[in-house]
């Protein structure tokens, strides 16, 4: 391979105002096709490839399995069922119930029953077709409503309450209630699930995984093999997208590959074809939300009751945290003086749903935003005014779970966006347009996002880093976070360079590996930079102190007068190049390697009392979206979007902008065109990109203004930045509200037309028709 051009190594600056907007550390490799993903690694000649047989029934006992034909098929080397797993068959992340291979029964269509290893992927896939499984079918539960009614839960329900919401609602001047079905979302990471396992000489393996959580991959692989963790290493260089879909779901592939690798003492690759991936791996949870609110004539909320029922699928997976986070965000940005919020974890005979950017937050938040719109239309006010009246403020700042908001951001942020987006004038124009236009109706909505930052499982809020300075002055940093495209490694490199005061080119971020940094948390909850950045900075500070002490001693200067900046060590007026300093320190036998550690302060949530501080801080934002609906077909376009996002002091504005825009469009897909559907046998029918439609370039509005709210984080995060991974996804709720607003225009904005998520053209068509029928019936 030829050498990288010099230009690439130069720090790229976008403009003087954004000196930190450097390109993604792999951008050059991305555009030239040289970035290596797992499937691109050269294959060993004796490598095995895996394919699996999925269950044909949503709920059934397995009576018998015929494997002979598959075993005899060309290229087949090994065929296994659950009994062949040497250690535990359970590969659940937190609780139990996720089986690597099904045992006596199957609990969803597609559940893995048999796995085949062959000399090529095609041979393995063809052999799978020769496996014959006999089932005794049982009745399956497929809907969340049915599960809720029968109280079939994967885990107990949880309730957060403050005050007597029932009484407050009854006492309020007005009451309303609503319900809302939100469908889930397929992650559709462009790189499908994949893992490679190489057997080692001690009965363990080294696994390469496309995973957000290598430490868990390591743990589960060790469990299925029945070996201690130190015999397993997991490594992740980069993922081709993840979005939560590779937080817990990647582990099963690694475990399967590891079992075959150890059994056959051969390298094994397990790459899921897209359709298998869409059938066999978990998605965003469907939610069925019911709400009841009491409010006064000004639309100020006096009490709220909500029941949020998540469709968890057949096992808990990460659903406890997902439903909790839905509950923690059922207030979104609004103060509920009294509230009862219950979350239910419904068990169904479907694939076990999992993490997806927002982790339940979006599903809780949509309920709040739908309710606010309902209240606005009930009292006949502009929804934005009702939203502003109910925002958390200085004296109304306590969430239903008892965390006080210490930072007041949204009132100001919304005010600013209202101006820059020209909300009031456009509202008037749209009202006038809708009066005169019969076939096309426009809608507008400005909705806020307040998203809690920290894992709600307290123990996950820790991170480690390992930093080496080599004798030539180059710096190598490992940390527990993984790179999935979000630019974490770029930000970590920037943090390390800034912390030392050296040029960015000195710093290289290593692939994430469990033998570099142990027991790392998943890269999730938007906390990748907050946690790992602080751990890396902590390591930097340790090593920097050693270097400064060395310099003080060597050059006989007061340590207070020594600094490192611009890639040099300054002792009064004298500048020593960093590389020279390092070389000297090495010769003088100074340790040039250090670990760093960080744990998030202040947080803690008492689940028994349902009170506490689950989040260190909140990331805020708001979006104003405008849509145009064709009543003839329900087809629509998003014509303009304005976003203001609170990212604290941005570490890299270009990367943060990418997170905001990308998160918004992904959220827009969730609320518009992405429709997950199952048939009445429990088989997913939206199982390929041919029938599951994520947004394309043509769906993105031409007018798409994104700006950052300029204010450092009040909490002591790394360089006062704020998390940005998940929050922007929920800005897209504005698109859904705008669509409903357009439909409501048919009934003079005094009726709340039913609309679920996603608002496909079909759903919008029927929503508009309901509004029209209401208007006709009441006029």
């Amino acid at each position: 391979m030829r050498k990288l051009p010099k230009a690439l190594l130069r720090v790229q600056t976008e403009s003087a105002h954004k000196p930190t907007s450097i390109a993604h550390e792999s951008a050059y490799k991305h555009v030239t096709g040289r970035a290596q993903y797992l499937d691109d690694i050269p294959e060993w000649p004796n490598m095995l490839h895996l394919a699996t047989v999925g269950a044909e029934h949503a709920s059934a006992m397995i009576e018998s399995i015929e494997l002979d034909a598959a075993r005899r098929a060309p290229g087949v080397v090994d065929v296994i069922t659950q009994g062949d797993i040497p250690g535990s068959a359970d590969v659940s992340p937190v609780f139990s119930g996720d089986l690597l291979l099904a045992g006596e029964r199957v609990d969803y269509v597609g559940q893995t029953v048999v796995a085949v290893a062959a000399t090529s992927l095609e041979a393995a896939r063809r052999a799978c077709k020769l496996v014959n499984i006999h089932y005794r079918s049982e009745s399956a539960r497929l809907s969340v409503q049915e599960a809720l009614e029968r109280e079939e839960f994967v885990l107990p329900s949880h309730t957060i309450s403050s005050g007597d919401a029932g009484a407050a609602i009854a006492r309020a001047e007005h009451q309303l209630q609503g319900e809302l079905y939100l469908r889930g979302q397929e992650h559709f990471y462009l790189e499908g699930q994949i893992s490679i396992a190489l057997p080692n000489e001690d009965g363990g393996v080294r696994v390469y995984s496309s995973s957000q959580h290598p430490a868990e991959v390591q743990k589960l692989v060790a469990q299925v093999l029945g070996v201690p963790l130190h015999l397993v290493q997991a490594e992740v260089r980069r993922m081709g997208g993840a979005f939560g879909g590779k937080e817990s779901q990647a582990a099963a592939l690694a475990c399967m590959a590891a079992v075959f690798a150890v059994r056959n003492q051969r390298p094994v690759k397990y790459r899921m074809p897209r359709r298998d991936d869409m059938t066999q791996t978990g998605k965003r949870h469907d939610f069925w939300n019911q709400y009841r609110a009491g409010f006064d004539s000004d639309g100020v909320i006096r009490g709220v009751e909500m029941d949020l029922a998540g469709l968890c699928g057949h096992s808990p997976d990460l659903s406890d945290g997902v439903v909790d986070r839905a509950m923690f965000h059922a207030d979104n940005a609004y103060f509920y003086s009294t509230a009862r919020i219950s979350g239910h974890r419904c068990r169904t005979n479907t694939v076990s749903n999992t993490a997806f950017r927002g982790f339940g937050g979006p599903q809780g938040m949509v309920a709040a935003e739908a309710m606010l719109d309902d209240i606005a239309r009930a009292v006949g006010a502009d929804p934005l005014d009702i939203r502003k009246r109910n925002l958390y403020s200085a004296d109304r700042n306590t969430t239903p779970y008892g965390q006080a908001l210490e930072e007041e951001v949204l009132p100001q942020l919304i005010e600013q966006l209202e101006q820059t987006a020209d909300y009031r004038a456009r509202r008037e124009q749209i009202r006038a347009f809708n009066v005169s236009s019969t076939q096309i109706k426009k809608g507008l909505a400005l909705t806020p996002v307040k998203f809690g930052i920290s894992f709600t499982s307290k123990h996950l809020n820790q991170a480690g880093a390992l930093l080496h300075i080599y004798a030539d002055g180059s710096i190598h940093v490992s940390h527990g976070g993984t790179e999935m495209g979000q630019g974490l490694h770029t930000k970590i490199a920037q943090i390390v360079a800034r912390g030392f005061g050296v040029d960015l080119e000195r710093v290289r971020v290593a692939a994430t590996a469990t033998d570099q940094v142990p027991n790392a948390s998943p890269t999730a909850a938007s906390a990748g930079t907050d946690l790992n950045g602080m751990a890396a900075l902590n390591a930097v500070n340790t090593l920097k102190q050693r270097l400064l002490e060395y310099a003080a001693e060597t050059y006989g200067a007061d340590i207070e007068r020594i600094s490192i900046r611009d890639d040099q060590c300054w002792i009064a007026q004298r500048a020593i190049p960093f590389a020279e300093l390092v070389k000297g320190a090495y010769i003088d036998r100074v340790s040039l390697s250090a670990t760093g550690f960080y744990r998030t302060p202040k947080i803690g949530y008492n689940r028994t009392a349902a009170r506490g501080r689950p989040f260190l801080y909140f990331a805020n934002g708001a979006a104003a979206s405008e849509v145009e609906v064709d009543l003839n077909t329900g087809e629509y376009r998003v014509t303009r979007v304005d976003i203001l996002q609170d990212v604290g002091d941005s570490l890299n504005p270009a990367i943060d902008l990418g997170q905001v825009e990308g998160g918004f469009v992904q959220g827009m897909g969730w609320v518009t065109s992405e429709e997950l559907l199952w048939n009445d046998q429990g088989r997913i029918i939206s199982d390929s990109p041919a029938n599951y439609k994520i947004p394309t370039a043509g769906d993105v509005p031409e007018i798409f203004n994104v700006d950052f709210f300029q204010r450092p984080n009040a909490e002591e995060t790394v360089y006062r930045s704020k998390a940005v991974g998940e929050p922007p996804l929920m800005l897209a709720i504005s698109v859904w509200c705008a669509l409903r607003d357009a439909c409501a225009s048919l009934a003079e904005y005094r009726y709340n037309p039913p609309l679920g998520v996603p608002a496909t053209p079909e759903q919008v068509y029927f929503c508009a028709r309901a509004a029209k029928e209401y208007a006709e019936a009441t006029s």
Binding site: R2, P5, Q12, S21, A23, H24, S26, A27, H30, V31, T32, G33, R34, A35, Q36, D39, E122, R126, K129, Y189, L190, E191, G192, R238, G240, G241, P273, R274, M484, G485, Q486, G487, N632, T633, A654, I655, L657, G658, E661, G662, V665, Q666, S673, L677, I685, S688, P689, A690, K693, I694, P695, T696, A697, G698, D699, V700, P761, E762, Y765, F766
Partner: protein, 484 residues
């Protein structure tokens, strides 16, 4: 087979007929910059450029490598991401993607870069051509990105098209000479590439068991999705006669092997409604490969073109391995779900329809969840001809056809007859026609739409066409009155 792979002339002796370009690149050549995202032509991560030598220049088209057979590269220039940068300089598509932060996870990036490079090359090849936002979006309509939200990619494309860079022409003299040097026309043994109808007939006679392929944008899914081997293939796309595209004695003749791309050129300026429909078929990559004949012979009830062709009174010509031909109305070609009048040994040769039908008022509508690269929930094509009479304009010819509403594309003659003979403003006739649509059609509900929605939309689209005709005519009358 011989072809030019990036900078090198290569020869492959006997690749299996159903080997995809993607597998060949990734597994045989270990060129892993081209990615597999879906293996079904829906995501564009595997986009590569295929160039064909024509009059001393190479014309390049973006294609999905995952559903393109390796033999399609025969005698062509195959360009992959690995060769895009030249003499150490990034291609403008790469440089702009880099400068505009157009990649995040990077997995889709090579595909986007290739699609943009295809647009760049097109601008170099045609000095008249210009590109705006719409063309940039069109070029990447078959590329999915899940990270960026596309804004930076579209910006990269917009910056790239402002100043196409001659230094990054893909058809360098060396490649033109390499392609020109390939004189033998050998194809892989199990992949026949007849160049004429005569060769095609021989092939059909010798290999009655071979599958016919044109663009293969649907057929190859059997290989990649179902893992079904296709041992022997006859490729119609090289048969010159099947590329006929002309108007002759008032009849428009369209060869079955014409790609959507070729149709786009033909209908541009002839019918804005048909042009708009063509733009909604698949993606840029699919339209570069997919063919008119494939869209018809595949017999999908949700194919995009058949309703339009039904409305245009199209006939189709079927030919057999002895050269015998028979012509039948398109409506008679469809017998049932995925069942056609095509006999073993026959192939679809041509589609023809009266040129005057295109001059009639007509509308083609496609309704789907997503605008770009989606399969229709409902397709509607309506053609209305009127004649002035003492009662006003009277409908003298009415064609109402739908896709997605039955097991085959259908004409709804019961509805047509309700309008026929009535004046164009006769609302009661319209309502009778709408009622006939509702009574006649019994659509199913599936992953794309419910039966109820389909039925309502079908009626609404008919109503839209009727209103469009009336407002167009009233406008014309108004302007005529003004000029008078």
């Amino acid at each position: 087979m011989k072809f030019v792979l990036n900078h090198d002339l290569v020869e492959e002796i006997a690749p299996a007929a159903d080997t995809t370009l993607l597998r060949y690149l990734r597994e045989t050549k270990r060129l892993c910059g081209t990615k597999e995202g879906c293996a079904s032509g829906d995501c564009g991560a595997c986009t590569v450029l295929l160039g064909e030598l024509e009059n001393g220049r190479i014309h390049y088209r973006t294609v999905n490598a995952c559903i393109t057979p390796i033999a399609a590269a025969n005698r062509r220039h195959l360009v992959t991401i690995e060769a895009l940068a030249s003499s150490g300089k990034l291609h403008p598509a790469q440089q702009e993607m880099l400068d505009n932060h157009g990649s995040q996870c990077g997995f889709c990036t090579p595909g986007f870069v290739m699609s943009l490079a295809g647009l760049h090359q097109q601008l170099l090849a045609d000095e008249e051509a210009q590109a705006d936002r719409a063309q940039v979006c069109e070029a990447i309509s078959g590329n999915l990105c899940r990270c960026t939200g596309y804004r930076p990619i579209v910006d990269a494309g917009l910056k790239m098209v402002q100043a196409p860079n001659e230094a990054h022409r893909l058809d360098a003299q060396a490649q033109i000479e390499q392609l020109a040097s390939i004189t033998d026309t050998d194809a892989p043994a199990d992949y026949l590439q007849p160049q004429s109808r005569k060769e095609l007939q021989q092939g059909l006679a010798l290999h009655p068991d071979a599958r016919l392929i044109a663009g293969g944008t649907d057929l190859l899914l059997e290989v990649t999705q179902q893992c079904q081997p296709i041992p022997k293939i006859i490729d119609l796309s090289g048969v010159k006669e099947l590329h006929r595209i002309e108007e002759c004695d008032g009849v428009i003749h369209l060869g079955a092997a014409l790609t959507y791309r070729e149709l786009e050129t033909f209908f541009a300026g002839r019918s804005s409604s048909i042009s708009a429909l063509l733009e909604r078929i698949g993606s840029r990559q699919i339209r570069n490969r997919g063919t008119l004949g494939g869209n018809i012979a595949n017999a999908s009830p949700i194919a995009d073109l058949p309703p339009l062709l039904l409305a245009l009174d199209a006939s189709i010509t079927l030919a057999d391995n002895r050269g015998a031909e028979r012509q039948l109305p398109l409506a008679e070609f469809y017998r049932g779900y995925k069942d056609t009048a095509l006999e073993i040994g026959e192939y679809l040769a041509e589609i023809s329809f009266p040129a005057r039908a295109v001059n009639d008022f007509h509308r083609a509508y496609k309704v789907s969840k997503r605008r770009e690269d989606d399969i229709s929930a409902v397709m509607a094509a309506i053609r209305l001809r009127t004649r002035a009479s003492e009662y006003g304009d009277v409908f003298t010819e009415v064609r109402i056809a739908f896709g997605g509403m039955a097991a085959t594309p259908v004409r709804v003659t019961t509805a047509e007859s309700k309008l026929l003979g009535c004046t164009r403003q006769d609302e009661s006739a319209l309502h009778a026609a709408l009622a006939a649509v509702a009574e006649t059609l019994k659509p199913i509900g599936d992953v794309r739409a419910s039966a109820d929605y389909r039925l309502q939309i079908a009626q609404n689209l008919l109503r839209s066409a009727w209103h469009a005709l009336n407002s167009e005519r009233s406008k014309n009358h108004a302007s005529e009155a003004l000029h008078a």
